[in-house]
Symmetry: D2
Subunit: 255 residues, 4 copies
């Protein structure tokens, strides 16, 4: 246990030196393979709980690799590198909360305990994947070219016996961050239900508190997506590849 | 997603067909390699939060394989067998809550998402292990003898770069269920903290609601234990091997 | 390394205390979920290399859990239990070598390094799976019944982004070992190719040397199978569940 | 199976579309955390088989992430990304073969089937690890600084219940590729032993055929290493961080 010097052992869900979750804010740097598409609003509405309303069917699906550290635990990249890298795959749906637009992720698959639990605490509908993999290039690999028009990239997520998400992008041109579709704020739900009537519960619609956003290395192209999520037949799919960074400090209960 | 026929997608923590947790009660059948030992009460007190008090230093450590099903999802042993088998390793400390004796597990490592989240919901301090392994015998293996005095069994748990728990038992004689030390009821904590002041919290000391307990195939012997948990030097270690079954319906908040 | 006391470090493929493979003979005890079916002989012939000839299209597919020890390393069930348990999934095709009948497995997926390399050494076409899972029952689980007519069992294998094999069996009656179809001896190929003209090669058709076979706990029933292997549409599928044990001492080159 | 369109299913070890190994040459791009140290020549000599002789005790230990493609399978970075990325950890010993200097790796741990089998085919003493992890930075992560003097990096390898290798590097200054110690050519052994007297064998001392080498992003510093390999007490350890690329076309039998 990392927490042998702390006065007491932290509960796994209470951010701390000996728990599963580092103290926030939490910083992220990620490499994305993304497909934007239109799903069937009627089907999507079954994936999006109240108080959120499906907007127009616009969706985002991505697979990414993330380097993440807690604000007070940056040295973990050296001491516990497996606590600072994970893979994530998700499908997000454009939604409204009253008049505010945003994105709600019915499910977000991740590959580590700490990203699973940290996400659940902040309001993401996280699940643990068995495998998430995506295209990775390396500038010194003699057999690989740098990213350029015509290059294909892809990624997938496997959970149990199912490939829950699979993406393909064929790059057609370089882009800039403002070329990427925006979805507004990120909605979520913090839920901790009871297993007995004596227990308390948490059930809150929240806005994820994101800051410090930056994006680079944008490439645009064609995209395709397959998912076991019932989103309807994906239409008007476009693809993108980019790097992004941001900070999450927690989440605020929506009024 | 299993939940394509449900009206909406369940939140990962809300027991249901498309969530990470089946609806309870939950039934368990397990094969254990266990070591009972005396730890250092002063050190143990740092592993046991209020309102629990360390009793006399008596501890239990085990590694086991568990077959588990939700009450309404027994067919998952065929359709989703990976959702019905997991491995678990834990260290428990004999404690009191007021005048009632029981066992509190400062940490319980498991190998699947659903056992992790189900346990957190019920009040176990669960963590996800990278690997848990224990002795398994097979009656038709021509190279193996049935369990008998002199046989050695063992198990271990690895998380990250650490072997967090390692057990060895040398069987000396057959036993009966009443030979096994008892610890009383099982204590726990249901905790879901906030990441922003606007959020609600759950923080409850609970008693796990266990029933239907049965034990068989008991063997007794010598034991040894190594753990990264700061329990002090383990003393008076004895070992046991057995099978057990039980049902957990949830957990009740302690008065 | 286990081999710190050996005079030199063994090569990973040379059976020994510090290699990936224990010294043989190797003993096995396994629990099977199996489906027998008829494939398309024309398609199967592309899965079966010379000198083997497809017989009549009869095939076997199974998923199993195996406890295995080397003859001189039985204590590893306690010291290194992860070196004694693995999962395996395979499809076998009834074949002839000259006039002798047997079974050839175009591919056999396993979950551990040592079963992968030991199998390749003996002539199995082994591949490493990402996950293999199958129905496991437990007599003390209060939510589970013992196996009986009407019970469904199943298993699957995942490699990369694909579910390469999936089986379902519905038990209809108890059986005896002689109820199970027999396939004769087990054929294989030991192959170690060159990556440069200066190198030697091994390319041998072999018979796996199996002995000590025993079978128990046989149940018969209906079966279904899905696989990414191009076997044609499976027909006349029947299912079986059983336990078996055997010893493999190596493999003999076929004349 | 990827090989459904090939005429026959490739043997797992025969490079081909449906085997575990892509056709070579194989191209590599890697990010390294490395420690150079002096081991005990007497102990090292037990890790280095004839015809190689330990030189002066100089050793290299590294942990890295590798992007690798076969010459004819570059599109797999998109279609099968899990077949193009792996992690590797190794300890190498400076050796002589007659008068030629080089490096021999008594063991090289990797995280995927294809890197394991490809390596064994070429003459590396590869083993499958359970987990290999190393420091990864991301330029857009708001909580991380670029690499600079004072930064700590690290990595580790876990196999079974053991942390077989653990490295720490504290960067002190930028460097250039020629600052890195050189070890000469890479020695290896291609070994495929028999399990029966009727079988053939391969047992060859080889030189790995490496070309296209390039290195960049070199940083130098202090290092420390812990390993379960019996190398003696590591002395005079220095550290380095760098990226490198190369091509391996196979291996040539040494005269």
């Amino acid at each position: 246990m990392e927490g042998t010097t702390s006065r007491t052992l932290d509960h796994p869900l209470v951010p701390g030196a000996s728990s599963a979750i580092e103290k926030g804010p939490w910083h992220y740097g990620a490499d994305y393979v993304t497909v934007y598409f239109d799903g069937d609003p009627a089907r999507l509405s079954k994936l999006v709980p109240r108080p959120f309303r499906v907007a127009d069917g616009r969706c985002i699906a991505y697979v990414c690799e993330i380097v993440s550290v807690g604000d007070s635990g940056r040295e973990m990249v050296a001491s516990d590198p497996d606590r600072t890298v994970y893979h994530e795959a998700a499908v997000g749906v454009r939604c409204f909360h009253h008049l505010r637009g945003g994105v709600y992720f019915p499910v977000m698959w991740v590959t580590t305990e700490w990203s699973l639990l940290r996400g659940l605490l902040n309001g993401y509908q996280k699940r643990l994947a068995d495998k998430i993999s995506l295209t990775k290039l390396h500038p010194l690999n003699p057999g690989l070219e740098p990213i350029a028009p015509g290059m294909k990239l892809g990624g997938f997520c496997v959970k149990g016996s199912q490939r829950t998400l699979s993406l393909r992008v064929t790059v057609t041109k370089a882009g800039i961050p403002s070329d990427l579709p925006t979805f507004g704020i990120t909605f979520g739900r913090r839920v901790f239900p009871r297993t007995d009537e004596s227990q308390g519960v948490v059930q809150e619609a929240v806005e994820i508190l994101k800051s410090n956003s930056r994006t680079s290395d944008v490439w645009l192209g064609e995209g395709s997506v397959e998912t076991t999520l019932p989103v309807g037949e994906p239409k008007a799919a476009t693809g993108a590849v980019y790097r992004a960074g941001f900070t999450i400090s927690g989440s605020r209960v929506l009024p």
